[in-house]
Every structure is written in C-alpha cells, then in structure tokens.
Symmetry: C2
Subunit: 382 residues, 2 copies
C-alpha cells in the first residue's frame, strides 16, 4: 500500500513512517519542520538530537534497504499538497500535520491564531486534495481523547445513541475540550464529518490519549533513527516529563490535586493502532471513530508509577503538587469506551514497572544534557 | 449602551445598526465590504443599490440626528480590530462579520478556505480583543439553526440533558451541518464555548434560522437606507428568492421534494432578538444559546405562500421542482424548541398573506431590474 504521512517529522510521524515502511508499504513523509522551529523559537530542545528528514530517510534506507520519500512543505499550502498527491498517489493518508501542543495554543494570540489556521486549513486541504485526486483514498486523522473533555457520563467511541422525548438518533458524542489545541481537533472532526457526508470521503478519526515512550522496534537502539523527545512544559507529554524530572532530581510537577484522569498509550501502540486503522479502512461516506488508548491513569497514578520504578533503578523520586496552570477538573468521573481497536487486534503494551524503569535508564544516560530550566509550567490558561 | 456591530454593511448588520441607534445606543459599525466585493466578483447584484457605509451613516444622521461611527477593515485583522476596541470601548459586540452563504462556501477550494479562515479568525479575534480590553464586554454571536442539521430528535436550545447508562450530564447539543458555511458556525460555537469556560467570557450565541424580508421601521421607505437584497442562488435566502422569482415570472425553484423544513423569521424579528440578547446579557463564564426563529415551514409551504399571495397582487405564480443541488434530507422530522427569546419578550412578526403580498408589491416596482440569469441554482454540493 502507498501511505502518505503528513507531519512525518514529529514525535509520532517519524516512528509511524519507519513502522509502515518496515511492513512493506511505500511511504512518503511530508513536514514543514514547524515543531523543530518552534522548539528553537521557544528554546525547548528535545533530549535527543534528531537528524532532519532527508538524513533520517537516507539512514533508514542504509539499515533497512527501504526507501522513504521526503517532501518538505506545509500541508496548509494547498498547491504544494496537491502536487504531493499527484506525484505520490497514496492509497491512505495519515494526517499528523497539526500544531500538537495544548500549552503552545494558550501562549497568546499569535500562537492561537497559528494553531487554528494551521490545523484547520491543513485538514481542509487534505479533504480537498483527496476529493480532487482520488476520493477513494482513506484519510486516517489523528484526533484526541481531549475532544470529549471530562463529561459526567461514559464516553462512547465518537457517536452516541440518544433517546430524547420518546425519539432516538445516533449523533456525534458532544465535545468540550480543555485547550484551544484540543478545540481545533473538535473542529477538525466537524469538518471531516461534513465532507464525509457530502462527498462520501472515507475517514478514520483516531481519538488518541496522551502518548508516552521513547523507543520503537524500528529504531533498534540506533540514535540516528530516534524521534524527537520533549520534556518541557510546552511540548512534553506528562509521563515523558515525569521520567525526565525524576532523572534530573526535580520533584515531579503534579498539577493541582493530580486527580485528572486520562487514557494513555505507549508510542508502540500508536503505531499498531494507525496500522490497524489503515488495514481496516472506512467505507465510502463512513467516518469511523476509535478511542485510541490502552489504560486510564490519574496524574497521581503516573507520578506514583515513576516513583516506584525509580526505586528499582536507584533514584529517589519526589512528588510535589504545583499550582495548576490549566483550567480543568482535578477530580472527576472518567469512563471512556475503548473496545474498537482491541476488536481489530490491538495488543496493548501496558505500563509495567519494567517499562517505566527502562525509560528511566535510557534517560539516565543523558542526565547531563537535561535542561532543568524548561521543566516548570509557565503557560497559564487564564 | 455602546454597541459595536461587526459586519455592519450586511443584510442584517446595517438594519441592526439603525435599530440600535434609534433606541439610543452609541453604535459603531465595522465591515471589510466582503459581501459587496463578492457580489461584484460573482456577478450577483443586489436588487437595490446600497450606498457605502460612510454614505449611509451620514444619511442616517441627517434623518435621525444620530451618529453611527464607521470603521472599514477586516475583523480577521487582529491589530485593526484591537484598535477599534480601544477606540470605541464597547459594552456589547454583535458579531455578524462572517462569510454568510452556504453555496459560496461550496463553490471550490478558494471559497472554502476563505470561509473557514475568515469566520474562525474573526471569532478568535473577537474573543481575544474582549479578553485583552475588557472581559466584561458581552459578545452576541450570530450562529445558525443549520448547526443542528435535521436530527431525528427534538432540537433543544444549544444544550441537551443526556441520561446515559445510568448517569446524567448537560452537554452541547450534537451538531451536524449541511454546508461548509454552517460547519464554520459549529466551529465558532466550539471556539467561543471554550473561551467562555476558560476565560469567563460572556457570550450569547443566536442560532438563527433563514431570514426573510426587505424593510424595517428605521428605513421608513427611504431608499438610501435600504439594505442589500440578494435573490441569486449564492447570497439570496429562499423566501426572498421566491418573491423575486414570482415577480420575474420564473417558476419558483423548489429544490427536490421541497419537504426540507426550517425555522424562519422576519428581518424585523432579527433586530428584536439581537436587541433582547443585548438587554439580557450572559453572566461571566456563561454561554447563553437561543434558537432564533418564529415559525417552521417546509420549502413547499413557502412556495405555496408566495403562490397564494401572488393571486392577491395579480401574479400567476408557477412552482417547479428542480434537481436539488444540495446534499440534504428532503423529508425529515423537525421540531426545534424556541421559547427562550419569546420568554425575553420577542413579539413575532408572522408570515401572513399580507406580508408576502407587500414584499411582492415592493419587488414589482423593480421588476425591470431583475437579472433572470442569476436565479437558477448552479453550485453543486458534490
């Protein structure tokens, strides 16, 4: 199969490219290097230096014998994107090409505007490019569990059967996100759902939880194939941040009470899920929605897991609540359904003590390179 | 009260400006003349020539003694908008500054992109300008009944109480629109609801049905105070189009079966509703949502009403189904609640035979100016 990966330079994009390439697919990656530039602009480097996409693709070809095509440009630039579609002729598109950070989207007007414009125009352009070149192309879109927020009812997979005043309908599950970034993902869902119904596009929308982890099979310990690994307050995800904080000897930054509960998954499972989505495409005029995570944890659960694993590797981990910079419930009901991907064959990589310990060990080797000044939260939601 | 009207040159914007001005408010109108330029670009003129905003404001001052401040620029241009907020210091903002046509948004990529970018950035900018200058400013946002689509359950006013698997919550009513334009209005709701919750903004979101009518009290038959009146397939709303078709001797263009049912209101009632919304502002951190229409009709109902009234004014009106250019249900359940604005004191102007006849008579005087070539639908949804 020919798979086009938009946002192929990102934390998930590059590992997805290698994973799908190693499975025998023809892969093309597209990126505008936004994340690289933003990390420089905000002075929040990755723990690992990552070669650029051309360099990584060349190195991947050396070690695997497989080619990954690279095109640098913005998915929000429609003529560029259309050229890529005409040239590569994908069977499936994996759309990661969005500004992915909630804190970044809350920094100020300029960042909010960029997030809104980039994320929505890129999604519009993908829909149009598919319609213009080949409406049978399957779009796999990365959404987020954050679209649902934390309602007081069970969260279904995308749609909910509502019985109201004696009548029934199956409608999109109501959404209410906790950041502008997450709100743009709701808006993406609105947008794609519309074009699915009107143009008969084929879309799978993956409501992904926060991802943790460093390594995938395809990296094989080869540093030149590593993915970007942020641990700062803007681009770092919570468990990755805790791992680095533990190694740096900084108390784990639990926001507020720490009862905030979300569905998490290992980076290896992201690759499995995207692979499964591609292997089970939506039909013409269908939008499949899956809740993509394997386990739910509160922030306190994650902090405790890192503290426990710390003992195994000889680190004494301190946990400390800091004032919550976000506007969110710190103690709430949370019970999202997540059987769809399991039914397709997902084999979860669970968050064992062993996995946390291995992450800690990998980061310990880089201990001297950790920038302690970029760890504390600064971006205020209001 | 000081009221800033964004999109003050539009079909509803200018009448709203005069209405609020006549009630003793200080009014400032902002517009980028998008609609004027688009009507030239697409060659779909208004039935009435309308002087530009400066000319109309001067004329309004001559006849009423009241000043309306005019600023020309784009609400999507944040520095410009911020200057207007700093200068005018509004108590309330009425946000009409959006690309308002469903067919326009379906013309092609360029128009879709403009609609998405303009409508969302303008709404983002309004939220930011309010937060930056005075978070107590009440935002009155024009949404659309089209956000809800045509679900098989009763449509509540913005929110719905859901009981699911033994638990309850009150959430946004699920939305599913029928055009890209309507989808951007869903996205606006998502956006404002987010900032209401995080920044404590005060927002009223008016889910308005299609508006019909030509005249308001403030115009007083003075042609230089008339509002833009489109009857083409892009910018004309259905009843206004039928009136012009009847006068032009063209069969009324009922799309498909004509069972498509929507909630309608007279342009005079739009002014009442916006006035009522301003007089009953949302509290800090509250988003009020009202369904803004007075009566529901199917397209066939409207065609029959024009045919009946035609007899009274001596016109023989023909009705003819044309292939539906849109993707929509032509026969469906439709029962939206609309008690909120009535409870605030809305006195509906109902669609009587007399009102239709008066519209017909007004258009008959312009019969020779009607462009018959812009009446038939051309824009295909898919």
């Amino acid at each position: 199969m020919r798979v086009l990966i938009l946002g192929g330079d990102g934390y998930l994009g590059w590992p997805t490219a290698m994973y799908l390439s190693s499975q025998g697919n023809e892969v093309c990656v597209v990126d505008n290097y936004f994340r690289r530039f933003a990390c420089v602009e905000k002075d929040v480097p990755s723990l690992f230096d990552t070669p650029n996409l051309f360099e990584r693709a060349r190195h991947w070809q050396e070690v695997s014998g497989k080619e990954i095509m690279v095109r640098i440009g913005s998915v929000a630039d429609y003529p560029f994107l259309l050229d890529v579609f005409h040239e590569f002729k994908p069977d499936a598109v994996v759309h990661y090409a969005e500004q992915p950070s909630a804190p970044y989207s809350m920094l100020g007007h300029s960042e909010a505007r960029f997030t809104l414009e980039n994320n929505l125009l890129s999604t519009l352009n993908v829909a149009y490019a598919v319609k213009e070149t080949d409406p049978s192309i399957h779009i796999v879109k990365l959404g987020t569990m954050g679209e649902y927020g934390t309602p007081n009812i069970d969260i279904e997979e995308g749609f909910i059967d509502i019985e109201h005043k004696g009548r029934k309908d199956r409608l999109l599950f109501p959404r209410q996100a906790g950041s502008l970034y997450h709100t743009t993902k709701i808006q993406d869902t609105d947008l794609l759902y519309f074009y699915v119904r009107v143009w008969g596009l084929r879309v799978t929308d993956l409501m992904q939880g926060p991802v943790y982890g460093i390594f995938t099979e395809e990296m094989g310990g080869d540093e030149d194939l590593f993915t970007v690994f942020n641990y700062d307050e803007i681009f770092g995800t919570v468990l990755n941040r805790f791992i680095v904080q533990a190694v740096a000897g900084v108390p784990l930054t639990v926001y507020g009470k720490g009862g905030q509960t979300r569905g998490y998954l290992n980076i290896k499972d992201t690759l499995q899920c995207v692979g499964l989505a591609i292997a089970h495409p939506a039909r013409k005029g269908e939008m499949k929605i899956y809740n993509q995570f394997t386990e739910t944890f509160s922030v306190n659960d994650l902090a405790n897991a890192v503290q426990r694993a710390g003992k195994d590797v000889g680190i004494d981990v301190e946990i400390k609540s800091v004032p919550n910079p976000r506007v969110e419930l710190e103690d709430h009901y949370y019970n999202p359904v997540h059987t769809g991907l399991l039914d397709l064959g997902l084999e979860p990589t669970l968050l064992t003590n062993n996995i946390v310990a291995k992450m800690l060990e990998s980061v310990i080797r880089r201990k001297d390179e950790i920038r302690r000044d970029i760890i504390q939260p600064k971006t205020q939601w209001n």
